[in-house]
């Protein structure tokens, strides 16, 4: 600790270089955090998928409906605990770029299926009573500056006409990876207004008693409806989401490869800066050694300086990244999940620490083994 003033003096000796080195680390780690955020948002909450939930969709594709009568038949299957369903509405609020997902939900069963979404009891009750009511996720509510009690017009695209909904409540999520951009309304309202496709739903969500039984139940459901006019494909929620992620295809891979390569280049540049700055100080180090500083002291001092730059820069970069993500999704609703998770932060700090250590190690080793007489002669 008593060497702290010396350390600080060293860091402050060439202010511009210090700023640039710390800045480079900060940029690299900002980028690292950003890539983590992008990766996370492309994964669409894969990590928060419920292990005991299955998604049942029409075998042909998700856009094809399933009959509402399947609800009863699904709940009779062994090991099935709860069944709920929903339909995609795909409406537009004011203009198409204001995208957010709207689901027509089964009011009786939907909430119990998704306990991760929290809604105050009185708001939920108000929603149940109001046939044109809706529940909006916190992010979407804030994005458009809506309040509870507002009446929201949504232009239907798949269905017809302008639909109006009363905001009865807002749902929040405990985990950051949960999507709070959705908009839920009564399935019955949709069903009544669309007589030409009455009693069809988009997909079912099924909860099994025991996650270990999931594979078995999946098979039973698909066999039960095989050779009917509405065959099904059942998957765990995680597999269902992974299917979407895979469809994004190589775009995600390309962003990640490119970004990672560049981040490491940036880190290498900062590393070479560090060794340059220490090599310039050969004379000083020789003097320190002549005054009686031991090799371990020298090693520790230089490593501490190098790691200091790295960690300060890294911390700065990740903080800026965190602030940036708090500002919300920059693509206007296309990435519902957009946040910096703790795993990325810890990994990032770990990486900077390692780069600081490695880039300081060789110069520190050279300094440690420095021949005093030869170094002093060159002054």
């Amino acid at each position: 600790m008593k060497f702290l003033p010396l350390l600080l003096a060293n860091i402050g000796r060439k202010k511009m270089r210090t700023i640039l080195t710390v800045g480079s680390y900060a940029v690299a780690l900002f980028l690292f955090g950003l890539l983590g955020v992008i990766d996370m948002s492309f994964n669409q909450g894969l990590e928060v998928a419920g292990v005991d939930r299955l998604i049942v969709r029409n075998k042909t594709s998700l856009i094809m409906p399933l009959p509402i009568a399947y609800k009863e038949r699904l709940s009779q299957i062994k090991d099935v605990k709860d069944v709920t369903f929903a339909s995609w509405f795909g409406g537009v609020y004011q203009e198409p770029k204001n995208f957010f997902a709207q689901f027509a939900i089964d009011v009786d069963t939907y909430r119990a299926m998704y306990p991760e979404f929290e809604i105050p009891e009185d708001q939920w009750d108000a929603f149940v009573r109001d046939r044109q009511g809706c529940i909006v996720g916190r992010k979407t509510l804030d994005r458009f500056g809506w309040k509870i009690g507002d009446r929201i017009p949504i232009q239907a695209t798949i269905y017809r006409g302008l639909w109006e909904f009363n905001i009865c409540g807002v749902y929040e999520a405990r985990r950051e990876a949960d999507d709070t951009t959705q908009f839920w309304f009564h399935f019955n309202y949709l069903n009544e207004r669309t007589p030409f496709i009455k009693d069809y739903v988009g997909w079912y969500t099924v909860r099994v008693h025991n996650p270990d039984k999931a594979a078995e139940v999946t098979k039973t459901i698909d066999e039960r409806f095989a050779n009917s006019s509405f065959e099904t494909t059942t998957e765990t929620e995680k597999a269902f989401m992974a299917g979407f992620v895979k469809q994004f295809g190589n775009i995600k891979l390309i962003i990640l490869i490119v970004g990672s390569v560049v981040m490491f280049t940036l880190l290498l540049i900062t590393g070479s800066n560090m060794s340059l700055s220490i090599r310039e100080r050969t004379n000083e180090i020789a003097i320190l050694k002549a005054m009686g500083f031991g090799p371990t002291h020298i090693l520790t001092l230089i490593l501490a300086e190098s790691i200091g730059y790295a960690v300060i820069g890294g911390f700065l970069g990740l903080s800026v990244c965190k602030l940036f993500t708090l500002g919300g999704d920059p693509t206007n609703g296309l990435l519902p999940v957009f946040f910096l998770d703790n795993k990325t932060v810890i990994l990032g700090i770990g990486i900077t620490f390692m780069v600081g250590l490695i880039s300081g190690f060789i110069p520190a080793l050279i300094a440690m083994r420095l021949n005093i007489v030869r170094a002093l002669r060159s002054i």
């Binding site: 511009m16 270089r17 640039l20 800045g23 480079s24 940029v27 690299a28 900002f30 980028l31 950003l34 890539l35 992008i38 075998k59 042909t60 594709s61 998700l62 856009i63 094809m64 795909g90 537009v92 198409p96 770029k97 995208f99 232009q155 239907a156 695209t157 798949i158 017809r160 006019s229 065959e231 494909t233 992974a242 299917g243 979407f244 895979k246 469809q247 994004f248 295809g249 190589n250 775009i251 390309i254 962003i255 490119v258 970004g259 390569v261 560049v262 280049t265 940036l266 540049i269 070479s272 800066n273 920059p330 693509t331 206007n332 296309l334 990435l335």
Partner: protein, 390 residues
């Protein structure tokens, strides 16, 4: 009087290794920038190439994509009778009433399902879309469960080979041909008879989703639009095919552009730091040189310009290198899901001259900001103490 440029060229040669670090970091930034712009451009280009200026697409009023739209046969007949719609040699209107659906079929690469766009078309479809050619096999026979697949679909999905059978919508389809649509979105689709597809998907007979019509001239779109809008029997939206497909690319190309610019922007700041470092150390090691230049009569302004030029030169070389490195990516095929059509689409990266120009301009911007402050410091070098350092 300006300091000769050869002075800067020589000093870059003299400090090759530190210049190289700055040059490479700028090259990296430009490469990433060009790559992301080429990705967004390629995606958009693929969709836009699907449209022809002489074709118009008709959707239900208010629908923004074919997936959401629906049109009845009567409406299609009314529109087909309009004199602004072109006729074929036997006098029939050149229109195609189409059904667009999605089938979940496994990808060759991963075995997991992806959404293939299946387009049920009328016989005239191949005449109206004259860019769509047959690569192998033959067209489907109307009324049969036969299907032709786009060349990208053929490469992307399992079992999409000539004479093979695929199963979706409850029936078996025989693949009788492979299409080449010149790299447009149709290359990711599969085409079959609209009526057969309607039956397979248990949709009502004579209900279609969109209608594509060949017009007598691109200019007739406007008057046709006015006529349709005032016709009380119709509630439809009509658009030029090109505009329609350009709209379908908005979401994904926005996503790529925003994320791409974010990453490239952050990297750009990193590269400015790299350039600053190089230029500052260039200035500090050349103190005496600069003082000498000043002593023999060059003014402060000349020194600033000279150092800025040097920085711009490094940045320009970096930008050039970055563009060259990334050039081979042009034409590389990637694929992703298009949220607006909810289907999987392949597209090729497109590096166009304007992307390259933007890349080089951005590199010059980096060079300018990386060189400005070191150049000012160089100009303020006190002459006497620096010379005394000899």
């Amino acid at each position: 009087m300006a300091i000769p440029l050869i002075y800067n060229v020589r000093s870059i040669q003299g400090r090759f290794s530190s210049t190289l670090v700055a040059l490479l970091s700028i090259a990296g930034v430009i490469a990433v920038l060009v790559a992301t712009m080429a990705m967004a451009k390629g995606f958009k280009k693929t969709l836009v190439a699907s449209g022809s200026s002489q074709n118009a697409i008709v959707l239900r009023g208010g629908a923004t994509s074919e997936m959401e739209s629906s049109l009845e046969l009567e409406q299609i007949k009314i529109i087909g009778d309009d004199p602004r719609v072109a006729r074929d040699s036997s006098g029939r209107p050149m229109i195609s009433a189409e059904v667009v659906v999605i089938a979940s079929l496994p990808l060759r690469a991963t075995g997991t399902d992806a959404n293939v766009q299946i387009r049920g078309v009328s016989q005239n479809a191949f005449v109206i879309r004259d860019t769509v050619k047959l690569l192998k096999g033959r067209f489907f026979t109307p009324g049969l469960a036969e299907i032709v697949v786009g060349k990208y679909a053929h490469e992307t999905y399992r079992g999409f080979d000539l004479d093979k059978t695929i199963h979706f919508g409850g029936i078996d389809w025989t693949i009788v041909g492979i299409l080449d649509a010149g790299g447009s979105a149709f290359d990711s689709e599969s085409w079959c008879d609209a009526n057969v597809l309607n039956q397979a998907y248990k949709r009502p007979e004579n209900l279609f989703q969109s209608m594509t019509a060949r017009l007598i001239s691109p200019e007739s779109l406007k008057s046709l639009k006015d006529a349709l809008n005032t016709d009380p029997r119709l509630t439809v939206t009509i658009k030029s095919e090109i505009d329609y497909y350009a709209d379908q690319s908005v979401m994904v190309s926005t996503l790529i552009n925003v994320l791409g610019f974010l990453v490239a922007g952050a990297m750009g700041i990193g590269a400015i730091f790299g350039a600053l470092n190089t230029m500052y150390s260039a200035v500090s090691t050349r103190n005496r040189e600069i003082a000498t230049l000043r002593a023999i009569g060059f003014r402060e302004r000349d020194v600033v310009i000279s150092f800025l030029l040097e920085s711009l030169l490094i940045a320009f070389l970096g930008g050039l290198l970055g563009s060259l490195i990334i050039l081979p990516i042009n034409g590389y095929t990637a694929s992703t899901i298009n949220w607006q059509t909810f289907s999987h689409m392949s597209f090729a990266f497109a590096i166009t001259p304007d992307i390259l120009i933007q890349g080089i301009l951005f590199s010059l911007l980096l060079g300018f900001f990386g060189g400005l402050f070191p150049a000012i410091r160089a100009a303020h070098t006190p002459i006497a103490p620096a010379l005394r350092g000899l």
